[in-house]
Amino acid sequence: MTVAPEKNPPVKLPNEPEITPQVVAEHGLAPDEYERLLKIMGRTPTMVELGIFSAMWSEHCSYKSSKVWLKKLPTKAPWVIQGPGENAGVIDIGDGQAAIFKMESHNHPSYIEPYQGAATGVGGILRDVFTMGARPVANLNALRFGDPKHAKTRHLVSGVVAGIAGYGNCMGIPTVGGETNFHAAYNGNILVNAMTVGVAATDKIFYAAAAGIGNPMVYVGSKTGRDGIHGATMSSTEFNEDSESKRPTVQVGDPFVEKLLLEACLELMATDAIIAIQDMGAAGLTSSSFEMAAKGGLGLVMELDKVPMRETGMNPYELMLSESQERMLIVLKPGREDEARKIFEKWELDFAVIGHLTDTERMVLTWHGDVVGNIPIPPLVTEAPMYERPWTLTPLPPELEASKVPAPTDWKASLLTLMSCPDLASKAWIWHQYDHLIMGNTAIRPQGGDAALVRVPGAPKAASHKGLAMTSDCTPRYVQAHPETGGRQAVAEAWRNITAVGARPLAVTDNMNFGNPQKPEIMGQFAGAIMGMAEACIALDFPVVSGNVSLYNETEGRPILPTPTIGAVGVIDDIATSAGSRLVQSGLALVLIGETKGWLGQSIYLRELHGREEGAPPPVDLAVERRNGDFVRGEIVGRRVHACHDLSDGGLLVALAEMCLSGGTGACIKLPATDVAPHAYLYGEDQGRYLIATDDGPALVEAARKAGVPAVLLGYSGGPDITVDRLLTLPLQELRDAHENWLPGYMNSAA
């Protein structure tokens, strides 16, 4: 098929402004990008056409700076059903079932309007997943806030958490996991990355590619209002002092309507009336209709006056660019309109046939019978700007030797300081606001293990319960120090988290949050992180199946820490063979798996106790990672492990403290004979390590030795204290008070 010539040039609407260079610039199009537009159109665009190009070619929708790099990530494996490019990634989890998942950012809106920004972030990612035919089974979120001392931080934490809770709880989807960090680099740009995991039958997955000339295009859900106009463009620029005046570009969510939309869509999906379906996310009706037609190699006519409108006096420009929430676009089989209409009317949602598919490969927009926009579809996609931006890799900083880092003068105080620092303090204040139990499938809850574990609903009835393990992870200070190592580490840690509950890691969704890509050092961070991630994903058979890029996270020239958040999913055949991290029993042997060299560069200990962020981050040996992880997973599903926790921020002693606190049981350990200094042994952040509680310590150590895995028996669980050799004895209650009181205390203190 080829693009038909333009038969009906658009009319100019009354009061339509002239297209001047200033109007073009306000739409975020660079002069050379506007030249491309003129070449494609062969004439001056109308306002609505200019708006469509602006949205489709925004960084947010076009990935113009990141695409060349994203191609380097591995996306295939025998169990991958759908990789990047659809609304979400799809993997086979056996028994005719698929897990569908994705993580997406809502950073810019959440800073401007935290409650609505975060809420609609959750709403958007939920729609991405249920658009594909899945019932969402779990949500996670990865949040990064500024320095707790910064004037806005408390307000942002409060609003973001309430927004996530408000949306997810009402939808009835459990929010089971995530992470929250604080760092001054996020003072002007917080990160809100939301992830949804859903489950569908492998033969009932819905895609966006339109098909069937003449087939009706149906609009369902909420009415279109004036909210969120140019959200995608706003999210593709840096912040400055005027950013808060952009509040009207933030969308407003209604989880109640989305719940109705979810049920109505799933009801319609149970019939065979749908050919293609796409949610209206960033750039609303523009990107959804464009993607459906482009993927199907077709054209379309949309009668914009038929779009259900929330306000009077709306014009085509506003209708095409509104980011009103809770809307979907569906291509139906011919003659199935009434059947579909009945379902949406039952759920009290709008339903309108607004157009049909054509063979012209053009997007023709009409307004009360007049053509107001007429754009050839393929060139807008194929001729879209794509940049190979200059990049400079961050050099690897010199290794910081443990001897250059002082040991604590007061061991007890050091552990109390770490366990109550903003990054490691309990986040119970946050996750208790999320309904993490609804649906009755949550087996491992927040703080109960390194990954959340959720039973797969609808699996064949058997004695066993199949489970999905899920996590999100990234250590931005490692990525900042050396993006390649940091990218590798983020993937490895996500893989380790899944492994630590006994599940097989299957695939990844990535949420790449970076600063301004027009700066070579930022583009270099992006490039480096991708190289590291790609290497780890290949080595661990851990393909990337979906993702999202958020650039321009800068305020007045100050970028965030590079934050490639990794969301990961794995599967376990029987939840009864999983392990959490809670130490609930006395008398268990505590075995450290993996090699400890005492790596203190970029450690939390170095930062929190000595105020230094320096040195190289801990190296990740992917072969060792895999060997150690496969061994640990085998021991867990072989039911020889009571509890397991991976070692990450704060190293061995923090991991032990977390296991003791979450299970309510103390422990006593001794340092083995080693050349490593005690503070480096206990607080070093060497990778590929796990702490395991088991009945038979010597047997585990022996099994590890046979597998070529370093393992050492450190001590036993029991008692009311944590005791480490002669270095420290700390009552659990004292530790608990420090760990659990920081965040509520901070949130309740006067601003």
Partner: protein, 230 residues
């Protein structure tokens, strides 16, 4: 036991309670749409948790005016047992089937957590499988669970043994509102009507019926109803 579970736009724990009932009875309950004022005769009506009508206006207020609730009120008057959980508790209270009201949590936030409950009486069709004074662990998940009633009503509830469950410490003690997740009066977690045929409670026993998924302390509630109503 034949059970019906009501479904309003915005209900979201109807599947959880249906699953719990099926686990105990081996039979899927009938799901009844909010517009259906004429559903088949059943032994038990369950008003489930969620955000009926988006919690707009006031939690439960709009659902209480729905066609199906008019029928529920009629049947409750005839003695058909009604169980309202969480938003269902708010709905049956708004519908006048139970005294009192559920206000916003005293700390103003949504709370999802395991809580300890003291079973105040075993003398009801809902609680006959528990012992009076027994402590059970079940989760709550709500933003408006702060039970309140005027002094006369509170006295009447106490005197007539209409308090079903109270929040408590792990040892069953009730001191200074200990274990109370929402600030409710007298630590009330659930109340009966005066004939003990209607029970409303904020906690979710339906999410505590399987060992690996929240424990089994809620299961006896469903088993007790089956025993009383089969």
């Amino acid at each position: 036991m034949k059970a019906a579970v009501l479904v309003f736009p915005g209900s979201n724990r109807e599947g959880d309670v249906a699953q719990a009932i099926e686990l105990v009875t081996g039979r899927r309950p009938q799901m009844v749409w909010h517009g259906d004022g004429d559903f088949e005769k059943v032994d038990l009506i369950v008003v489930p948790g969620g955000f009926s009508y988006g919690d707009y206006l006031r939690c439960g207020a709009m659902a209480a005016q729905s066609p199906v609730m008019a029928e529920v009120k009629k049947r409750a008057a005839q003695g058909v047992p009604v169980l309202g959980i969480c938003n269902g508790f708010q709905i049956v209270t708004e519908a006048g089937l139970l005294p009192g009201t559920l206000m916003r949590n005293s700390h103003l936030k949504f709370v999802c957590a395991d809580v300890h409950l003291r079973v105040e009486t075993s003398q009801s069709l809902f609680t006959n499988r528990y012992q009076a004074g027994q402590v059970i662990k079940v989760p709550v998940a709500h933003a408006e669970g702060n039970y309140f009633a005027d002094a006369d009503t509170m006295k009447r509830l106490e005197d007539r043994g209409q308090i079903a469950f109270r929040y408590c410490g792990p040892d069953g003690s009730i001191v200074d509102g200990r274990g109370n997740p929402n600030g409710s009066s007298s630590n009330i977690a659930g109340v009966f009507n005066d004939t003990k045929t209607v029970l409303g409670l904020m906690p979710h026993p339906e999410n505590a019926v399987e060992p690996m998924f929240g424990g089994t302390d809620g299961k006896a509630l469903f088993e007790g109803m089956v025993e009383a109503l089969s």
